[in-house]
Amino acid sequence: MSAPAAHGSTPDYFIPQPSSWPIKGSIALFLMALGAATWINGMFPGPWALAIGLAFLVYMLFGWFGTVAGESEGGRYSGKVDVSFRWSMSWFIFSEVMFFAAFFGALYYARVFSVPWLGDLDQRLLWPDFKAQWPTAGPEIAESFTPMGPFWIPTINTALLLSSGVTLTIAHHALKDNKRGVLNLFMFLTILLGVVFLGFQAYEYAHAYSDLNLKLSTGIYGSTFFMLTGFHGFHVTVGAIMLIVVWVRCMKGHFKPDHHFAFEGAAWYWHFVDVVWLGLYIVVYWM
């Protein structure tokens, strides 16, 4: 049975041996959930369990992806397995799109339905002075705040992310042409652009809190603004970590011109994060 298949094309499958990474991941998530839930309620074990769980999760991710990278470099993934990876990454990104859709949907609903309703005639009984306009913190959160406009940080950030898409594509072409030096350089540039983006975003948040009086608790505007940009920022962080891992592997000489799905998967993810940002830039900052 361990004989190679007679005809070169058939042995397409890869079935891994029993593995302990999944159960480790489950234990990690259990600790994290328990920790997070108790922490936000000010109870034991709170942050302790969360931190241990998180550390364990990071360990698991390193181990698991390390195994996968090893298997890939060991040439154990056939073309068919590669196609499976492509399908799965596409569907995973689709699920992420739907996650963002929930929050974009919330923003849309608030602007088109709930805020105008709150300001309509019947509601005078409850909120006599509320004027329906966007942005708003709602009828009862009276503190004044300044909304976040598109200039200049978000616009600069848009430019950063768009250029990072370009540099990433250059890196990809370099990989395909087997120009490893260019590849490594442009990977680095891509990551750098991502990190600078995050830096600007952090600065923007600080600015919002300290100068604009714009907080997570600033009614529906603050809620949607910070949750959308926050989850996006989180995804940029994840994407950047992916790219860093890929970069390190590039420098180790991993990937071949015709076989480098990990690279492409990370790149797809990065482009997805890019597109979400464009959506945010238009819907959150401009409209």
């Binding site: 361990s2 029993p18 739907m98 996650f99 929930a102 709602g138």
Partner: protein, 531 residues
């Protein structure tokens, strides 16, 4: 085994030549075998079914007669909520994933799922999630009591139990998404040569579409409960009018997930029935192509009907009309399925072993549930019966007599393949008759209660409702006890019983019946050729 696997088996020092599973507990914890994982899913879901069932018995005990007997109202709400959550996320959904794991590779001629290791994680994520739910009963304030729909702002009031519930659902959602990605990929990429999509067994088709629904809506649920979490603890105002948000927005987001979710729980059931009916009618499935189109139409329509759960929230008339029309349309493709099954039976050569009994029972009783669904879809009528026991009756008809009966039917049908033994036919038939009779005793009277105006989720009621509640409670205990028969049948079939050959059912068709029973640990290591 595939050459790729063992050619390069260097790094882990494992034995490349063992064919059977590793032994002991670790076999189950670390397994990457789709059959093992399928078995784990099935046992997990059965245990969850018993747990959820015991909670249901708690509900029915309190409702046996008017007045407060056993629980305080707060705990009663916890029972209702956890019953709903556990049945939906713990029992029915994982059971179908268990079937998918066992059957999809066998039916499409693949050696395993596309991502065997991730498959293991999908299962083992359910266990911590279930533990979190169970733990939440014992924390100060108790489990979440906001209904399985977790409507805000009630869900922003609860204590730690609510947060544990939210995180449990996040984890279950992650499990579902990974499981679905695995299933989609397996079906799209790992079919044996010659098996085109339109030759694929119906069960795989229904799961392909279900998996797509899951990937589309589970993240939306995650978004909704994340907003509840931040409203609870981090000062956001998504569902708080004072901050410009809207409680009804939660319902829109939730039901955008929730309605497709109910089809997620029924489409694989349709798939199972589409195997059992032809097998026992000894006649090919009628209208294969229209079955595929009907399933797809149901899935597509399911995205534009969600607000039929919200007719009483006070949406504009145009909204009510749109959602009413869209909802009623779903009766058409569902009808096509029902008619196709009946046409399959027509002029067949039928026998009525337990799988077929459950399948016929399914068609009959599910259709009743479908009709009451249609009645709910008519906005003015729904405004009368929304949040009453009529709705409870409707969804138990489609979920218990629908999803659950299909699961039983499938289990009886495939258990010879899983265990290599024929189940005890006498006990199986007893299980069927006890189930269908007690089922109707339990849930039929609820239609009357609902029409008469008894709200759901209440621990006490007007004395005029007493008789039907008493009948329902008696039925519930009978139904619950009947399920122990099922447990006995399954255990007996695992332990022993008549040995069966590759294909114990005369009319069965499909690749799974070409391998020995019980199915060997590894199957289809070289892909079969499908003509």
């Amino acid at each position: 085994m595939s050459a790729v696997l063992d050619q390069h088996g260097h790094s882990h020092g494992h034995d490349d030549h063992h064919h059977g599973p590793p032994s002991g507990l670790m076999r189950w914890v670390m397994t990457t075998n789709h059959k093992d994982i399928g078995t784990l899913y099935l046992w997990f879901s059965f245990i969850m079914f018993l747990t959820g069932g015991v909670l249901a018995l708690g509900i029915r005990m309190e409702l046996f007669q008017p007045g407060l007997q056993y629980w305080n109202p707060e705990f009663f709400n916890q029972l209702t909520t956890m019953h709903g959550l556990i049945m939906v996320f713990g029992a029915i959904m994982p059971a179908f994933v268990g079937f998918a794991n066992w059957l999809i590779p066998l039916q499409i001629g693949a050696p395993d799922m596309a991502f065997a290791r991730m498959n293991n994680w999908s299962f083992w994520l359910l266990v911590p999630a279930a533990m979190l739910l169970v733990i939440s009963f014992f924390v100060p304030g108790g489990a979440t009591a906001a209904g399985w729909t977790l409507y805000a702002p009630l869900s922003t009031q609860m204590g730690l139990g609510m947060d544990l519930g939210i995180f449990a659902m996040h984890i279950m959602g992650a499990s579902s998404i990974m499981g679905s990605i695995n299933i989609v990929t397996t079906i799209l990429n790992m079919r044996a040569p010659g098996m085109t999509l339109m030759k694929m067994p119906m069960f795989c088709w229904t799961w392909l579409i279900t998996a797509y629904l899951l990937i589309a809506v589970m993240p939306v649920l995650a978004g909704a409960i994340t907003m509840v979490l931040t409203d609870r603890h981090f000062g956001t105002s998504f569902f708080n009018a004072a901050g410009g948000g809207d409680p009804v927005m939660y319902q829109h987001i939730f039901w955008f997930f929730g309605h497709p979710e109910v089809y997620i729980m029924i489409l694989p059931a349709f798939g199972i029935i589409s195997h059992v009916v032809p097998a026992f009618a000894r006649k090919q499935l009628f209208g294969y192509a229209s079955m595929v189109y009907a399933t797809s139409s149901i899935a597509i329509l399911s995205f534009i009907v969600w607000a039929h759960h919200m007719f009483t929230t006070g949406m504009p008339a145009s909204g009510q009309l749109f959602f009413m029309y869209a909802t009623m349309l779903i009766a058409v493709p569902t009808g096509v399925k029902v008619f196709n099954w009946i046409a399959t039976m027509w002029k067949g050569s039928m026998t009525f072993e337990t799988p077929m009994l459950f399948a016929v029972g399914f068609i009959f009783v599910f259709t009743m549930g479908g009709f009451t669904g249609l009645i709910c879809a008519v906005t003015p009528i729904d405004i009368q019966i929304q949040d009453t026991y009529y709705v409870v009756a409707h969804f138990h008809y489609v979920l218990v007599a629908g999803s659950l009966f299909a699961l039983f039917s499938g289990t009886y049908y495939w258990i010879p393949k899983w265990t290599g033994h024929m189940y005890d036919e006498g006990l199986g038939k007893l299980h069927f008759w006890a189930s269908i009779i007690f089922f109707n005793i339990t849930f039929f009277p609820m239609h009357f209660l609902g029409l008469a105006g008894m709200p759901r989720r209440i621990p006490d009621y007007a004395t005029q409702f007493a008789d039907f509640n008493a009948i329902a409670s008696v039925g519930a205990f009978g139904f619950g006890l009947s399920q122990l028969i099922f447990l006995v049948v399954v255990l007996k079939a695992i332990k022993g019983g008549a040995k069966v050959g590759d294909k114990p059912w005369e009319g069965a068709e499909g690749l799974e019946w070409t391998v020995p029973s019980p199915a060997p640990y590894h199957t289809f290591e070289t892909a079969p050729q499908v003509k």
